[in-house]
């Protein structure tokens, strides 16, 4: 039995440093999402990977908004693709905090 793999190229780093892209190979399951894959990476390959999410599967919190292959998307509803490399970057137009996390807090909710 062959196991399908999905490949992620994830933009890493903080605003202060030049960005780099890390490649991760993730087992592909039918129906799995980009957020599933990122959580899998955090638990098994790299716990330092920063990604923001809250509701996980209901698509009500909207916190996992990132750019997937250059297009704004929710990590929780974007299906993983087997074979091709998916490029993941933080939401454009917001200050990058770290990796895939950008500052989406309303100004009045900051410390």
């Amino acid at each position: 039995m062959t196991t399908l793999t999905a490949h992620l190229s994830v933009r890493r780093g903080t605003a202060d440093n030049p960005p780099r892209y890390d490649e991760f190979a993730v087992p592909f399951e039918d129906g799995a999402t980009v957020l599933d894959a990122l959580m899998w990476v955090r638990a098994r390959l790299d716990p330092s990977l920063a990604i923001r999410y809250s509701c996980i599967n209901a698509n009500v919190c909207k916190e996992c908004t990132i750019a997937v292959d250059g297009r704004v998307a929710y990590a929780c509803t974007t299906r993983l693709k087997a074979g091709a490399v998916m490029v993941l970057e933080p939401l454009p137009g917001k200050p990058v905090l770290r990796d895939l996390v950008s500052d989406t807090r309303p100004p009045r909710e900051r410390l």
Partner: protein, 553 residues
């Protein structure tokens, strides 16, 4: 290091926390800090609620508060703390009407009356909702708007409260972790309201958001409070299992069953609930604990569906009726390749709600002066099994009460003096230096969810529970040596470590209480003690043990 001075700190900004903030200011509090590890009003459980909100509004029947209370107490299998259940039922209509004044938009009939449906376990059509499957988002957005209009409420997102601080046994404040900067924040407060929700994220199969890891229970234990009814975790019987859906809450079939009935079928296509004493005859009447029991037993007997659940079928419902009831949702399902008129879907029990929580009186006060709890974080009102529809009113009612009584408490107090807690503050800086190690917190969090699912799930026995307690204690002992990636700003390793620390103690509290209760009742089913024992018609309390673990008192 930021230092905040406030009258009332509210930990958690879901429905209960936001309502508590509004209520505290209405009752005279001048400074309220509403802190959430996620974004204010977007994380937690409230925003995920799909449909039913129970309140004896009597819009569609001769309902009253006593009938709602009788149903709630009946569902609780003898364990509801009745004064709390009574407070929930008494105040629910006022809270629902107040939400309507704030333009939440409850669904209405053509006659103009607020629509109320009958949910399982309710003797009357009592549950209002916002269409379509939009109750939680509408409630959360309404409260978010209100909270934003009150200058006395300071909102802070991405602030995790890691420790409560007491002085002479009374609440003096808290230490928080500012997730964005990776730094400690000290919070001096006269009173603290814990509104962090429950602990269903401790289970591998759950409908929980990421913030439901039981951190409020850990905070309360650490401050000296007691927890009650921790063994009662409600498994929602018909969580979505297959085919995989994304962007839809796994409890979405509940509203479908309210409106359309639906039929639960085994692998042969036969209805099976009657074998467990609950003949639905096309309606939706079986309480959650009994349905979970029936489905689990069917799967164990080899009569389950391919993915390990059972079938839920709406094939007998005409397409027009489906579309009238759920319009846009039917279109979304079609985009996932699901046509309910052609094939059943697979469902199975998933952790959904926690009946237990922080032990409080009807002022929402714990035994620690100045410490209050609200919403799912407070235990007792729902006993051994919660009625569907009682969670959102619980958030609103208990939030309102906690805010009111915390404000009254704080009004009589001098400004809190920050008793320097060097340990909790220093720990954050130390963790941010990073640490090499064999295992990381995300790995152990995954293992914890498996341990809880397998040994502390809807069916338990002494052997598995004993193994779970032992493994949870081993993991807790490993906390000081876990690998942590270095860095401050947005370092997820810091939040993971604190989440694991809190999750382990919350999980241990569930496991020790479940091991101690040698009977089956409601959501707590023991394979080795299958009968309900009248001698166990009492609530168990859990407190922090001398060695730092959780112990039944």
């Amino acid at each position: 290091m930021p230092a905040i001075d406030t009258d009332i700190l509210i930990v958690g900004a879901g429905g209960a926390g936001m309502y508590a903030a509004l209520s505290a200011v209405r009752s005279g509090a001048e400074r309220v800090l509403l802190a959430d590890k996620s974004l204010v009003g977007r994380g937690g459980a409230t925003v995920m609620a799909q449909m039913t909100v129970a309140a004896a509004l009597a819009e569609e029947s001769d309902d009253d508060i006593d009938l709602h209370l009788a149903d709630t107490v009946g569902a609780g299998r003898g364990l509801c703390v009745e004064p709390l259940a009574a407070a929930l039922c008494e105040d629910a209509p006022a809270r629902i009407r107040e939400m309507e004044e704030w333009r939440v938009g409850w669904a209405r009939r053509d006659t103009g009356r607020i629509a109320q449906v009958t949910a399982p376990g309710h003797s009357r059509p009592r549950c209002c909702y916002v269409d379509f499957l939009n109750t939680g988002p509408a409630v959360a957005a309404t409260l978010r708007r209100r909270v934003a209009q009150v200058p006395a409420i300071r909102r802070v997102s991405n602030l995790t409260v890691t420790d409560l601080v007491t002085a002479d046994g009374e609440i003096a404040g808290a230490v928080g972790l500012d997730l964005t900067e990776g730094q400690a924040v000290t919070i001096a407060a006269k009173a603290v309201i814990i509104a962090t929700g429950g602990l269903t994220r401790l289970y591998r199969r759950s409908s929980a958001s990421a913030n439901m890891g039981g951190d409020g229970y850990a905070l309360a234990l650490g401050a000296g409070a007691e927890l009650t009814d921790m063994e009662f975790v409600q498994f929602f019987p018909i969580g979505h299992l297959a085919p995989r859906l994304v962007g839809m809450d796994p409890i979405m079939w509940d509203p479908f069953r309210y409106k359309l009935g639906g039929r639960l079928l085994d692998s042969a296509g036969d209805e099976f609930l009657a074998r467990y004493g609950s003949d639905e005859a096309g309606a939706y009447t079986t309480p959650r604990d009994i349905a979970t029991y029936a489905i689990t037993k069917e799967v164990a007997a080899g009569r389950g569906s391919p993915h390990g659940g059972v079938y839920l079928s709406f094939q007998h419902v005409p397409r027009a009726a489906l579309e009238a009831a759920f319009g846009p949702v039917i279109d979304r399902l079609a985009r996932h390749g699901i046509d309910l008129t052609r094939a059943p879907i697979e469902v199975s029990p998933i952790a959904h709600y926690h009946m237990g929580g922080i032990a409080v009186d009807t002022t929402m006060a714990s035994r620690v002066p100045g410490l209050y709890a609200a919403g799912e974080a407070a235990g007792g009102a729902n006993g051994a099994n919660r009625l569907s529809g009682n969670a959102i009113p619980e958030a609103l009612v208990f939030g309102e009460r906690a805010g009111h009584f915390a404000a009254a408490y704080a009004a009589g107090r001098k400004p809190a003096r920050w008793p320097h807690d060097g340990e909790a503050v220093g720990r954050i800086a130390r963790l941010a230096e990073g640490r090499r190690g064999e295992v990381s917190a995300p790995e152990l969090l995954e293992e914890l969810r498996t341990v809880m699912q397998d040994y502390v799930g809807p069916f338990r026995a002494a052997g598995g529970l004993t193994r779970a307690v032992a493994r949870l204690r081993e993991m807790r002992a490993a906390l000081p040596v876990l690998a942590i990636p270095p860095g401050r700003a947005c370092n997820p390793g810091l939040a993971d470590w604190f989440e694991l620390r809190a999750s382990l103690i919350a999980a241990e509290a569930v496991a020790v209480a479940a091991l101690s209760r040698s009977e089956s009742r409601g959501a707590h089913q023991r394979d080795d003690f299958p009968q309900t024992d009248p001698a166990w018609a009492r609530n168990q309390r859990v407190a922090l043990a001398a060695g730092g673990g959780a112990a039944v008192t």
